[in-house]
């Protein structure tokens, strides 16, 4: 049965851009580490969570303001990313762990970090009390936080694009993701490149987590909740493909926001928006496992 709801479609469109930017920040590190180290890192969820909690401490407990909490989220998640790679995943790879071993280890790490966070900050729901200025552009309500989120995503895309295309580091990253053996033979220190990517990816995820927490609320599961859509972005975009993820993030942002409108129309729980990301993920895997990756001549392995 269809229920008529008055829908502000322009607002839904703008919200899609907000959601897409969030998923992009969350998924960039995931797709790049997946491409470089060849396994999906489930502990990526906790990179987002730690960033959010570190940002909360700076902004709400120390009252230092949002810019500082942004930096705190960036640095703390970067440190966790570095530690994860150096202490867990690199030693495991050296010992010849299989993909399944690495995945299970990443889940183990995820549980460890999440419950460590729970231990330090408590399991209760926390929320940012900061008030963001808002303004209306036509029928669309825009808050300062959303603007900051979209701007962060744009700046990140710009910087990443320049790094990937114009610098030696970017060249080395693309080479290592494409063919690690060949890159190594050409004198690229693949492990160092991987470390850099893990750090940057985790830091961006931390920033994404902070935005999510400031926009909604803060619970230990915050990263885990974004992990499924983030994986959908990674798969749809093609594993290891930065530009694929860029498109996929906004596609999934759109699908989710418009999907929620239909869920409301059909009087279904909005919890099912996760099912939308899942559906896209499954369809991609069945129909075109390389996702958008092939469009850019990178990423996307063949099943």
């Amino acid at each position: 049965m269809l229920f008529l709801v008055v829908v502000n479609w322009l607002q839904v469109l703008f919200n899609s851009a907000v959601t897409g930017s969030l998923y992009l920040l969350a998924a960039v590190g995931l797709t790049l580490t997946y491409g470089l180290t060849r396994f999906p890192n489930f502990a990526h969820a906790e990179f987002m969570a730690l960033g959010a909690y570190a940002g909360y401490t700076i902004a709400e407990q120390l009252k230092l303001g949002f810019p500082y909490s942004f930096i705190a989220a960036f640095i703390s998640s970067a440190a966790l990313g570095a530690a994860s790679y150096l202490l867990v995943f690199r030693p495991l790879t050296h010992r010849g762990a299989t993909i399944i071993h690495l995945m299970v280890a990443s889940i183990g790490l995820d549980f460890f970090v999440r419950h460590l966070i729970k231990q330090v900050w408590g399991g209760e729901q926390l929320s940012f009390r900061m008030v963001w200025p808002y303004f209306d552009v036509g029928p669309v309500r825009i808050t300062g936080l959303w603007v900051a989120l979209i701007l962060s995503a744009i700046v990140m895309v710009g910087v990443m694009h320049i790094v990937l295309t114009r610098t030696r580091l970017g060249k080395a990253i693309r080479a290592s993701a494409n063919n690690p053996d060949l890159a190594m033979a050409s004198g690229v220190d693949v492990e160092k490149i991987a470390l850099v990517v893990w750090i940057v990816g985790a830091a961006l995820a931390g920033v994404g987590g902070l935005f999510r927490a400031a926009d909604t609320r803060l619970v230990p599961l915050i990263g885990w909740e974004i992990l499924l859509p983030a994986f959908a972005v990674v798969i749809l975009g093609g594993i290891g493909s930065f530009y694929g993820a860029l498109i996929a993030a906004y596609v999934i942002g759109l699908a989710e926001n418009f999907g929620v409108v239909f869920l409301v129309m059909f009087k279904l729980s909005t919890d099912y928006k996760f099912a939308i990301a899942f559906l896209i993920l499954i369809l991609t895997l069945i129909l075109k496992p390389s996702g958008f990756g092939r469009l850019f001549g990178e990423g996307g392995k063949v099943v």
Partner: protein, 315 residues
């Protein structure tokens, strides 16, 4: 869930034994999928959940125990079969993501659709066995017997499956899928069969679980449950059915240890957090220092092998 205290040692031991049995069935089923066939099922809990909910709904309708457990087994097996069709064409990493997400989506459905089984409120499960006037110890002994009978059947089936030419084929698929394909094995068929069998066993376990704890809600079926079972398999030794059962004993003992610590020690750490943190760290340490588990992979024991080894001794 009932909180069983150490103050009644007999009940405590029985309670632990029942849980070991329920989880050992899950471990054996995951061992069939991961240990022998190399399938990364990160959504084990989904099929356990299907078994538990099916059984509980039937028990509420007044069906006898045997009907509940049988239907639960088939329901979980069927869901496993359907889920396996799109999932098994995928590589290990994709399969892991898809099965993990599948479990979470299923949990969301049970959480949001109150008409199925009470949604967030959960569902109480009436006992399908009614014997009045017996002490709780006797009831627990009956439960224990049923659980271990089920475990014995599952173990027997698993042993029969893996100690056969069929078992050799699935191990070959695990080691090198392409090679198995080249030798004319229908890899997809074997994987789907193992996934269905594993899911059905998880359904048995879910049914027993719901009958034992007598109350289930969506929060019972979080992903941590799947990885507790993974830890049992990895710790016990993948591709060794007896090993993973011992893994189940060890992991249960560890979980109980954390709960006892809560009662008797004043730790500055929340015992639940501590328990999960220990599990997380242990998984990583085992994978790093003893990825083959405590027990080595068991040999394929077929009649042909026995004849061959006798013949070898004679010569």
């Amino acid at each position: 869930m009932r909180e069983v205290r150490l103050s009644e040692p007999l009940i405590y031991v029985l309670d632990m034994a029942v849980f070991v049995g329920i989880f050992a069935i899950l471990a054996v089923s995951l061992n069939l999928e991961y240990g022998f066939t190399g399938l990364a099922n990160f959504g084990k809990v989904a099929f356990f959940m299907v078994g538990a909910y099916t059984s509980s709904i039937l028990a509420n309708m007044g069906f006898p125990y045997l009907a509940c457990i049988t239907v639960a087994t088939f329901a979980a097996g069927f869901v496993g079969f359907v889920a396996s069709l799109p999932a098994l064409k995928l590589q290990a990493d994709y399969l892991a993501i898809v099965t993990l997400a599948f479990g979470e989506i299923l949990r969301f459905i049970f959480k949001n659709e109150e008409w199925i089984a009470g949604g967030v409120q959960g569902i109480t499960v009436p006992s399908a066995i009614t014997i009045t006037g017996v002490p709780i110890q006797t009831m627990m002994l009956i439960q224990l017997t049923i659980v271990y009978a089920a475990l014995a059947i599952c173990y027997f089936i698993a042993q029969r499956v893996v100690n056969s030419p069929y078992g050799r084929t699935i191990r070959a698929i695990r080691e090198d899928e392409l090679a198995a394909q080249v030798l004319g094995k229908d890899v997809f068929k074997y994987k789907a069969q193992m996934f269905t069998l594993g899911s059905a066993m998880a359904g048995v376990s879910g049914s027993l679980f719901s009958q034992y704890v007598r109350f289930i809600d969506p929060y019972t079926f979080e992903p941590i449950l799947t990885f507790t079972v993974w830890m049992m398999v990895i710790l016990g030794g993948p591709a060794n059915n007896l090993g993973v059962i011992l893994g189940a004993v060890f992991v249960q003992a560890l979980e109980r240890g954390a709960r006892i610590a809560k009662d008797y020690l004043l730790l500055p750490v929340d015992p639940h957090n501590l328990r999960v943190m220990i599990i997380g760290i242990l998984i990583i340490l085992i994978l790093m220092y003893r990825p083959q588990g405590l027990f080595r992979e068991s040999k394929v024991k077929t009649p042909a092998l026995e004849v061959a080894s006798k013949w070898k001794k004679r010569s």
